[in-house]
C-alpha cells in the first residue's frame, strides 16, 4: 500500500499548498529569506532520506551541497558584469586578476595556473549540468567503495566528515582558482533565454518551491517503491537482507546518490537566491546542522525533516533580530537538540504521526519506537 493512512497525502498537499501560497503574505525581503529556508528544507529531506531510510548518517552532506553551489556559482561568476569588463575576449573573475602573477595574460585560459578549468563554465547550462553531475559522481564513487566494503554506521559518518573537510581545505588552498576563504561573490544572475531570475523575485521563489514540491513528492513515492522497501529492510537488518539475496551495496549506493543529487540541486538553488558560494558551505558545523534539522523534524519523515529545517530557520531569523539573543539562540538550539534526541527520537514528524493516530483512533500495527541500532522501523508522515 502506498500510504498507510489518509492524513499523510493530506499533509503533503497542505504543505505544498502553503508554500505556493506563501508569497501572498511575504514581502520581497522575506520572500528571499523564505526561499533560502525552502532550500534548507530540501536539505533536511535529503538527510532524512539517507539517514532515516538508508541508515547512513552522512556528516558530509555539505560536500554535495557545496559542489552544486560552486559549480553554478562559477558559471554565474563568469556572467557577472565585473568579470565581463576586464578588457579581454573572455570573461575573467576579478579575484584571478588579484592573484595573477605580474605580466600574466588577461585571458581565462591562462591567467592563473589551472584557470582553463573555468573555460566551459562560460556556458551557464554547463554549470547547471556539473552542479548535478559532480555530486552524483562523487556519491557514486564514494558509495560504491564504502558500501561494497561493508563499512557502516559511525565509520561512514567519519569518512564523509573527513572528506568534506578535505575538500574544504583544498578549495581554501586553491586561492587563485577558487578565491579561497572569501568564496565566489558578486555573481551574475541566472537566466533562461531572455528571462532573468531576480533573487528577490517571485519567479525564483516559485522555481524553488516547485522543485521542493517535486523533491518531496518524488522522494516520498520513491521510498514506497519495491527498491525503497528493500532499502528499509537493509537499514533494519543488513545481514538478513543480504541473505535474502538482495545486493545491499547497490540499493544503499542508489539512495545515497539520490540524496547527494538533491543536495546538489539545493546548492545550486541556494546560490541562485543568496548570490554567493563559500567554503563555509563545507564547514563541519553546517553539515551537522542539516542533521539537526532532520532530527528535530523527524529523521524518518521526508516531510517532517523539511518542515523541521524551515521552522528552525524561521525561528532563528525572528530571534536573531534581537541582538542580545543571537548567542542565546545557539545555546537553545543545543538544548533542543539534546532534548529531542533524548525524549523525541522520532522528531516532530513522529509526534505529529502519533497525534494524528490518536485523533483518528486508528490502530496502525507495527509501530515500534527506537530500535536497538538507533534506527526507526516505522516511517511517520
Amino acid at each position: 500500500m502506498l500510504f498507510k493512512n489518509h492524513y499523510e497525502p493530506l499533509a503533503y498537499a497542505i504543505f505544498i499548498a502553503a508554500i505556493l501560497a506563501a508569497p501572498l503574505v511575504l514581502d520581497e525581503f522575506w520572500l528571499n529569506r523564505f526561499s533560502k529556508y525552502l532550500v534548507f528544507g530540501m536539505l533536511g529531506s535529503a538527510v532524512a532520506l539517507s539517514w532515516g531510510y538508508a541508515g547512513i548518517l552522512n556528516l558530509g552532506q555539505g560536500l554535495f551541497f557545496g559542489a552544486g553551489a560552486y559549480m553554478l556559482a562559477m558559471s554565474l561568476k563568469l556572467a557577472s558584469p565585473t568579470s565581463l569588463q576586464q578588457g579581454s575576449s573572455t570573461p575573467v573573475p576579478d579575484f584571478m586578476l588579484w592573484n595573477a602573477e605580474p605580466g600574466a595574460p588577461t585571458q581565462l585560459c591562462c591567467i592563473v595556473k589551472g584557470s582553463a578549468l573555468w573555460l566551459p563554465f562560460q556556458s551557464q547550462w554547463f554549470g547547471v549540468a556539473m552542479g548535478l553531475a559532480v555530486p552524483v559522481v562523487l556519491a557514486t564513487v564514494l558509495g560504491s567503495v564504502v558500501f561494497a566494503k561493508r563499512i557502516s554506521g559511525t565509520f561512514v559518518s567519519i569518512i564523509t566528515l573527513a572528506l568534506v573537510l578535505l575538500v574544504r581545505l583544498l578549495i581554501i588552498d586553491a586561492q587563485p582558482l577558487t578565491n579561497g576563504f572569501n568564496g565566489l561573490t558578486d555573481l551574475g544572475s541566472f537566466h533562461i533565454g531572455d528571462f532573468t531570475f531576480d533573487p528577490y523575485g517571485l519567479e525564483s521563489y516559485y522555481l524553488i518551491a516547485g522543485l521542493l514540491s517535486l523533491v518531496l513528492v518524488g522522494t516520498r513515492l520513491l521510498i514506497s517503491t519495491r527498491a525503497g522497501l528493500i532499502l528499509q529492510a537493509t537499514r533494519d537488518d543488513e545481514v538478513r537482507a543480504r541473505y535474502l539475496g538482495f545486493n545491499v551495496p547497490h540499493y544503499k549506493t542508489f539512495f545515497f546518490v539520490i540524496s547527494a543529487a538533491i543536495c546538489g540541486v539545493a546548492g545550486m538553488l541556494y546560490v541562485l537566491v543568496s548570490e554567493f558560494a563559500s567554503p563555509t558551505f563545507m564547514d563541519l558545523s553546517f553539515s551537522i546542522t542539516m542533521v539537526v534539522w532532520a532530527a528535530v523534524g523527524g529523521r524518518a519523515s521526508i516531510l517532517g525533516a523539511c518542515i523541521g529545517a524551515i521552522l528552525i530557520n524561521m525561528i532563528e531569523a525572528k530571534i536573531s533580530e534581537t541582538k542580545a539573543l543571537v548567542e542565546v539562540w545557539k545555546a537553545i538550539i543545543g538544548l533542543i537538540f539534546v532534548l529531542v534526541v533524548l525524549f523525541l527520537p522520532r522528531g516532530l514528524g513522529g509526534l505529529a504521526h502519533d497525534l494524528c493516530r490518536g485523533l483518528w483512533r486508528r490502530r496502525v500495527s507495527g509501530t515500534s519506537p527506537v530500535g536497538k541500532t538507533g534506527t526507526i522501523s516505522h516511517p511517520a508522515a
Binding site: A162, L166, A331, V338, V341
Partner: protein
C-alpha cells in the same frame, strides 16, 4: 631533519593527548563524544582562569583542569550519554548539542553577561596563557636545540599515556574496563557494575582531554570554538589506529603527526591537514577495523 621530525613528534603527541581520552570513550565504550573537543576547550579555559584568579601557572592548572573536566564528563555521562547506550549515532547528535551548550556557556560567561557581570577570562574573545619561564627557550639534546615547551608537551604525553596504560592493564578497575570493551553483556553477567565503570571511564577520558587543553593553551590562542577541529583530529586518530586499541592510537597519532609535520614543511599547513584527512580516509577504506585493532570475537 631532526628538527622536522621533532615538530612531527610534538604534533603527534598533542594528537595523542587529545585522542587518548577518545580512545577510551569512543574506542572502548563506542560513544562518539562530539563534546570531547569542548573538554579540551574547558581545560584550556581552566588554565586561563587559574592564571587570572588564582595567580597559578600552567603546572598547577594540570591537576585542576583534569578534575574540572572529569567532573563535567561524569555529569554528561550521568545525565545524557547513559540513556543512549546502544544508540550510537544518537550519542553523536546529543553530544553535539552538549558541545554547543558548553561553547555558549563560555561565550556568554555562564549567562552572567546578561546581568552585566563580566568574568575575566571568559567571553567570546581570544585568551592567551603565558608559558612559565622554566619552559621558555630551548633545551639542548646532543647537538640539536629543541623547544622546551614542545619537549614538555611530549613528556606530559608520555606520562599520561603510561598512566593510562597502567590503569587499564594493571589495576582492578582497568580489568573491568577491558572486560566491558570485549563484551559488555558478559561483563555485566560476571558481576561488573557496567554503569558505574562506564561513568568513571567517561570521566577519565574527559579528564585526559582537559590535560590536553592545558597543554594546548601554551601555544594556541584560546577561544570558545577551538574544540571542534581538535575533536575531529582525535576521531581520525582513533579510527585510523583501531577501536579499542591503546597501542594502535599511540602508533597512529605518531604516524599522522609525522605526516602532518613533514608535509607542512614541504608545502603548507592547509595541504598537510588535507593529506592527513586523505590518509585516514584511505586507511578506513582499506582497513575498516583500523591499523592495529585487537582481534576480538
Amino acid at each position: 631533519m631532526i628538527d622536522i621530525l621533532f615538530i612531527g613528534l610534538s604534533l603527534g603527541s598533542i594528537l595523542l593527548l587529545v585522542s587518548l581520552g577518545l580512545a577510551i570513550t569512543y574506542g572502548s565504550m563506542g560513544v562518539i563524544n562530539m563534546a570531547h573537543g569542548e573538554m579540551v576547550m574547558l581545560g584550556a579555559y581552566t588554565t586561563v582562569l587559574c592564571g587570572k584568579w588564582l595567580g597559578a601557572n600552567l603546572f598547577v592548572a594540570i591537576p585542576i583542569a583534569f578534575l574540572v573536566t572529569a567532573a563535567i564528563g561524569f555529569a554528561i555521562e550521568r545525565v545524557v550519554v547513559r540513556r543512549l547506550y546502544g544508540r550510537l549515532l544518537d550519542t553523536l547528535l546529543a553530544t553535539w548539542g552538549i558541545a554547543i551548550l558548553l561553547q555558549q556557556a563560555v561565550r556568554l560567561e555562564f549567562g552572567l553577561s546578561f546581568f552585566g557581570i563580566h568574568v575575566d577570562g571568559l567571553g567570546p574573545g581570544l585568551q592567551n596563557v603565558a608559558v612559565p619561564t622554566l619552559l621558555q627557550g630551548t633545551v639542548a639534546v646532543g647537538a640539536v636545540a629543541l623547544n622546551s615547551y614542545r619537549s614538555f608537551v611530549i613528556l606530559v604525553t608520555l606520562v599520561t599515556t603510561l598512566a593510562t596504560w597502567i590503569i587499564l592493564n594493571r589495576s582492578p578497575v582497568g580489568m573491568q574496563v577491558r572486560a566491558i570493551i570485549r563484551n559488555p553483556h558478559m561483563a555485566a553477567a560476571c558481576g561488573i557494575d557496567v554503569k558505574r565503570i562506564n561513568s568513571l571511564t567517561f570521566a577519565f577520558g574527559s579528564g585526559l582531554a582537559g590535560i590536553a587543553g592545558v597543554m594546548m593553551s601554551g601555544f594556541k590562542s584560546i577561544f570558545p570554538d577551538m574544540g571542534t577541529p581538535i575533536a575531529v583530529d582525535g576521531f581520525l586518530v582513533v579510527v585510523a589506529g583501531g577501536l579499542g586499541s591503546l597501542s594502535g592510537t599511540v602508533m597512529s597519532a605518531g604516524m599522522l603527526g609525522e605526516i602532518n609535520g613533514l608535509i607542512a614543511t614541504a608545502t603548507n599547513d592547509t595541504i598537510a591537514r588535507a593529506v592527513v584527512f586523505g590518509v585516514v580516509i584511505l586507511i578506513i577504506l582499506l582497513k575498516p577495523k583500523g591499523l592495529f585493532s585487537f582481534k576480538g570475537r
